[in-house]
Symmetry: C2
Amino acid sequence: MAKYYSIKWVDNAVSMLDQRLLPHEEKYNTYTTFEEVAKAINVMVVRGAPAIGASAAYGLVLAVNAAETEDVGTGLEQLKKAGDVLKAARPTAVNLFWAVDRMVKKAVQANAQTMDELRAVVKAEADLIWEEDADMCFRMAENAMQVTPDQVVFVHHCNTGALATVDYGTALGVIRRAHEVGKDVFAYVDETRPRLQGARLTAWELQELGVPHAVIVDGASGYVMRNKGVNMVVFGCDRIAANGDLANKNVTYNLALAAKAHGIPAYSVRPTSTVDLNTASGDLIDIEERPSDEISHVFGKAHIIPEGVEVFNPAFDVTPNELITGIITEEGIAYPPFEKSLAEMVQKAEDRRKNRK
Amino acid sequence: MAKYYSIKWVDNAVSMLDQRLLPHEEKYNTYTTFEEVAKAINVMVVRGAPAIGASAAYGLVLAVNAAETEDVGTGLEQLKKAGDVLKAARPTAVNLFWAVDRMVKKAVQANAQTMDELRAVVKAEADLIWEEDADMCFRMAENAMQVTPDQVVFVHHCNTGALATVDYGTALGVIRRAHEVGKDVFAYVDETRPRLQGARLTAWELQELGVPHAVIVDGASGYVMRNKGVNMVVFGCDRIAANGDLANKNVTYNLALAAKAHGIPAYSVRPTSTVDLNTASGDLIDIEERPSDEISHVFGKAHIIPEGVEVFNPAFDVTPNELITGIITEEGIAYPPFEKSLAEMVQKAEDRRKNRK
């Protein structure tokens, strides 16, 4: 494990790296009540679906630990109320709802006889959510090693590291693992305009991990592919259609186009939970347009565009499957034709969950 | 002519738009001495090779006008000294040297008999330098109209407008001309990281000209090509090799790759003086690496990268000729094979200069 983390249970409290202060300050906040955790989620001390889910789960541990009752029914009521507060912290975060519902369901079904028993069940389930995500990320990184050259020069897009998950990360986990197993690694980190997740967060993580890297502007990806020996492109993604088309943070499409033109393999690294078999292709994915001030004001400080000028700021773009070499999941690497391989990966993940129960 | 300009002779003085204040303030400075003009060039009130050349030429007009002598020989000496001062203002600006040398040579060869005659010769030559550049830009824009659709959606890179020349501009002149002749025009302006010439200057010019446009991040060029009906891509360039490979402001290469992938024509718009027939191909062009703080600090205000992180900041990239549909010059449009067509364009320009003498 790296010396940093997004969210972790430490000394009977929730410890979170305050990501609002990155990259210039590394400060961990300690939260001892679920209300504080809800607030931290709300103001984005923590970000990234898995990290938010784990934060809410441990928030519920704080709630049930603080419950001043010996009656399990009352304790469960307080747990549910805390869950509602946590859910309201980021009302559009699907993973937050999923984590809270899973925790409450587990607590109810456990049929605990004492509050101590209930507390133990809740804590164990929060740990499991945390560990499952860490384990899933690690398996993706391990699976990626079979296609990662021993001398590897990456281009990496956005932030997909331990800061967005609970540990390891997705695409950034591949770079980290390659470094850990002794491969000769260099990573070009695109800055990821407009919100600069690459420049701010990915560069910070690689610095912490001791992985050699350099930040480039997004448009220089073709330049480094042509001149700097790049041989692997990795990124995450937000949603994968059944045919392998994928929606990811703007500007993945241009990066994938450049990789294709240079014959460099481009991999998306994401758990099977991102695959949406009900969406046939990328054309069916709606793209959110984001506020113009994300582009016109950098860090809220540098105002770079004339007043009144229109800005077009799609948050995501769709990369068609023909530009994707493979999709690296926790169950293995899906290759074209993706309709078949992705369905197989999803099935494998389902079987694994069934076997665990 | 637009209501704004980079540099112009107004009321017996040099008037310059202070580009350091753009896009938030439109302020014209008036300079009445050649020393002031040299200072303005030095601190980059004005930028762009043609605009710097014209500024120096009018600086020499100020010098000879201010000469307190009736002796033409003494006047010429003062002119030469002023020329040396102006040349020292930006020692690496080739066009600055060219303009000063041309002015001094003209003044000497004119064999003026009186200071009034000398002053008239010098003023006429400065006007000619200004007008030749404006005329050349206008002819490029006119030549471009034959390949510009009546309903046109552009992607434009960097700043190539009247702010970088004395009027009209190169690639931006094409957009302007299309709007003037009544075509239905929309332009996507890429912001041009790291120095943001697109967001700051091109957006400002198009706003002044009343051309509908929107700013995008550089990496969104593929997105708008795929989804927004883009049918023409235009950019300038800094140097064109004999085979049509061209070096231009980073990130032209990625833009040209995306255009090629979508089958959208991509044109470089530049005068024949940019063609270097002695450089066989783009591989022979050295690429300058620029300081890392151009990327790590936006406008010197927003510090976006962790301390100590490496930055790779090539100032230019080379776009190979197979990605270029045509090179629009003042003598016509050069098409592949560029070895032949570019040499013809250069010859035509030479013939035109000979005929003029």
